[in-house]
Symmetry: C2
Subunit: 147 residues, 2 copies
DNA sequence: ATTCTTATTGCAAAATTTTTTCAATAAGGA
DNA sequence: TCCTTATTGAAAAAATTTTGCAATAAGAAT
């Protein structure tokens, strides 16, 4: 559904800051911190405030239009996410992030843990890390130059 | 291996703050923020500084003796983690956290994603959420009282 | 035990990040 | 075009994290 409608239905409004944040996340396709989003907006001559970036990210997060991505050390970083349950696959070199699904494939695994631990499992957080095709190439070339 | 030895081998020292942080994490078995760890220490009459808690957590994290746990909204929260690759299963009611292994079971799944996306996957973050046995009981009782 | 070296601490201050307040603005239904 | 009010931006407050440095104490050596 259209963001405009989705917001209006709930008495909310599609404002400039919200459009800008969405656009930046769409175009970048990488996890971005509030600060970085703000700077990119300024570079784009969109004078939105950092405060609005925070507020917008909170909102989009509640609407499940973005999700957080967690690195090993740092947390923080938001990427767009499609409706429904998805997982993130992040390039550890360029941070490009793609979604993938597959809760079904996880089911038997989760069932097993459930039985082992007695926990009643009802949610999960799964992120994969690796090298995207482009970065694999880059690094291959770089390696060959060394020798 | 013994923490004392592990530190000394690398020219580091087992200090009071480090012992205290470890002890609190061991006893609590739940993800704790630096602030909370600090307060628990003070309650225990261990006058360590918040700065040391931060520094200790960084250190333990590098040594892979603790790991971060990420909630849906917030990040932040450290729990002990055993050597080797483990995953965390967190009770969404009481936060009690247990580890589980099972990278093997994940392999075929990861392979599939790898082929779909062209990424070369070399790491992952997996956390499960649910209710621990005790909280399941509590909630069951609570429910029955309502009716 | 005692001494010596230096890793580590704690404090104070700085830097950074996030939240709050509130008047001014602008989104969008009427 | 008007009207209501959700949302914004600016400033300030609050909270979190990092840094500099002198004092301390861990642990190896004597």
């Amino acid at each position: 559904m259209d963001l405009q409608k989705q917001l209006n239905q709930q008495g909310m409004r599609l404002t400039r800051p919200r459009q800008v944040v969405m656009k930046i996340l769409e175009e970048t396709g990488r996890p971005l911190s509030p600060q970085v989003i703000h700077q990119l907006a300024l570079q784009d001559d969109e004078n939105i405030s950092l405060v609005s970036v925070y507020r917008t990210l909170d909102l989009l997060n509640e609407l499940h239009l973005v999700c957080r991505v967690h690195g090993d050390e740092d947390c923080q970083g938001y990427v767009l996410s499609s409706p429904g349950h998805h997982h993130q696959l992040v390039c550890r070199n360029c941070q490009k992030t793609v979604e993938f699904t597959g809760t079904t494939e996880l089911e038997p695994f989760i069932k097993a843990i459930q039985e082992q631990t007695g926990f009643q499992i009802d949610g999960h957080l799964l992120q994969l890390f690796g090298l995207c095709p482009q970065c694999q190439e880059k690094i291959k070339k770089h390696e060959s130059h060394k020798h």
